[in-house]
Symmetry: C2
């Protein structure tokens, strides 16, 4: 397939209310529509955007994949002709995962990823699963992670080894963590030489007395390559960012520039041949391939 040079992305910062699935979907629909009107070709929704994590009831509100939420997403993707990534609680037999899905512009389910790291209190309700992978799409080379994973740099290194271009991270994280998470997002883009799309939930969880952090952001590596040289120079890493309002955060990715930088930078190769890199690559491989491009 032809390599895309530019890509417009729209990240939906959604106020995710517990026990209000219908209302969450209604507001998500309006914001997806707004992103489409703005010309976005890849739209990202937060982690567990339809239900919130709702830990005590996670098994009850979780759905299989494919299932009602992925069908809802697939219907919008094919109607608008856009790719959609989103987080949902996935029921998988006895287990519930905080998963992310990637859905193509024809509505097909292209990838499912299950959050690797589970917070200690979550562990009674959610199951973590190791394994990332990149997916080559007409939009670029995409890798999914979810929320809390972003605090664990090792989770992204299998994607880095495989030359990921766009790391997509739906999240529903709490407000006190906003500042460290933002610092880690900047570092993830730098150390993995990739765009990072962080679509965060916002709003209040009034049942639990919690506030979500919002701070949805499109981040690029702070490095660029001089136009007629292989010299590195600095570029502004935050392309677009929200505070805590419900909104769409959109930006244009320059994939051509990213690929030039990935080709010129020594650190991807330095990582792949280092023993720690090799240990991580081996440990991160996802067991069992999912059916790529499977019809919904």
């Amino acid at each position: 397939m032809t390599l895309r040079r530019r890509l417009r992305v729209g990240l939906v910062q959604l106020s995710v209310a517990t026990n209000r699935r219908t209302d969450n979907l209604r507001r998500a629909e309006a914001l997806v529509h707004e992103a489409v009107d703005d010309g976005c070709e890849l739209v990202v929704l937060p982690e567990a955007f339809a239900t919130a994590l709702n830990l005590p009831k996670s098994h009850e509100v979780a759905e299989p994949v494919p299932g009602p939420v992925t069908e809802w997403l697939a219907e919008r993707a094919s109607r608008y002709g856009v790719w959609i990534a989103a987080g949902l609680l996935e029921r998988n037999g006895e287990h519930v995962h905080s998963s992310a899905v990637l859905i193509a512009d024809d509505g097909s389910l292209v990838d499912v990823y299950r959050r690797t790291v589970v917070y200690d209190l979550e562990a009674h309700f959610l199951t973590g699963e190791v394994g990332t992978r990149v997916v080559d799409t007409p939009l670029g080379r995409i890798g999914l992670v979810v929320g809390y994973d972003i605090q664990f740099p090792e989770v992204l290194r299998g994607l880095f080894a495989d030359g990921v271009e766009i790391v997509v991270c739906p999240s529903i994280l709490l407000r006190p963590f906003a500042e460290p998470v933002r610092q880690m997002l900047l570092a993830r883009a730098a150390e993995n030489c990739a765009y990072v799309l962080f679509a965060g939930a916002t709003g209040e969880n009034t049942l639990a007395g919690l506030t979500y952090m919002g701070r949805t952001a499109v981040i690029r590596s702070p490095m660029a390559i001089g136009a007629y040289s292989r010299d590195f120079r600095r570029q502004e890493p935050v392309l677009a960012e929200a505070d805590r309002e419900e909104c769409v955060v959109s930006a244009d990715l320059d994939l051509h520039e990213l690929r030039r930088m990935q080709a010129a930078a020594p650190f991807p190769a330095d990582f792949r041949r280092s023993p720690l890199g090799q240990a991580l690559i081996a440990a991160s491989a996802r067991p069992g391939a999912l059916p790529l491009g499977d019809p919904r």
Copy 2:
């Protein structure tokens, strides 16, 4: 031993000139003295502070450990009664490593660490070696890394698993990398729940037409714990920072606050029990213990 609650550290940002060992040591001496006068109990010098990396001549200018440079450091440490960490080119049979040493206030050599990751062009001249470890000292739990390692988050995770309090990173990195390196330093402190002491070389390498980045900094985790609660709140992560001038960057570390945070934060335990964490811990273990507290 009694746990220290506070510690004053002084990071020497030194202009490191190639082929001017005597002059480098003379200026280092003056700046170490300045840090001691300022009440610093741990003084950190840059990577290869006596010689620069001087790749084509690295084998020639490298020294064994212990050797002349560590003796020079030990003499200052015991004279002033301070701990010193510093980087040097270490000759080890056929190999040359960019190493860091930690020297106690009685002049004893407490730890030697060899930089893990070697840049592709360096690989003809320098050898990387996997393995980190924490050292419990009267000043706190210290872990050494060196320069380019800071771009590879996996290098620090063995230290994180062992509850490192102070990551010491002597460095001699180039100016175009200043901004991404600073972003990664902030993330390293956040994700590893530790102080990061980054002592950078500054100045010009006129032989090679290179400029060093400076930007020596004392970084802490952006998280703190409320005084009478286990609530996380935000704190300013950069305690002290230089631009490119030759100087001492000093700051007071609050180890008591750090330990409260490490005890309250869930992510160290979440890391240790995750399969990727376990893979990294196994791969990072340093083969063969060095003699702790060995007389110089």
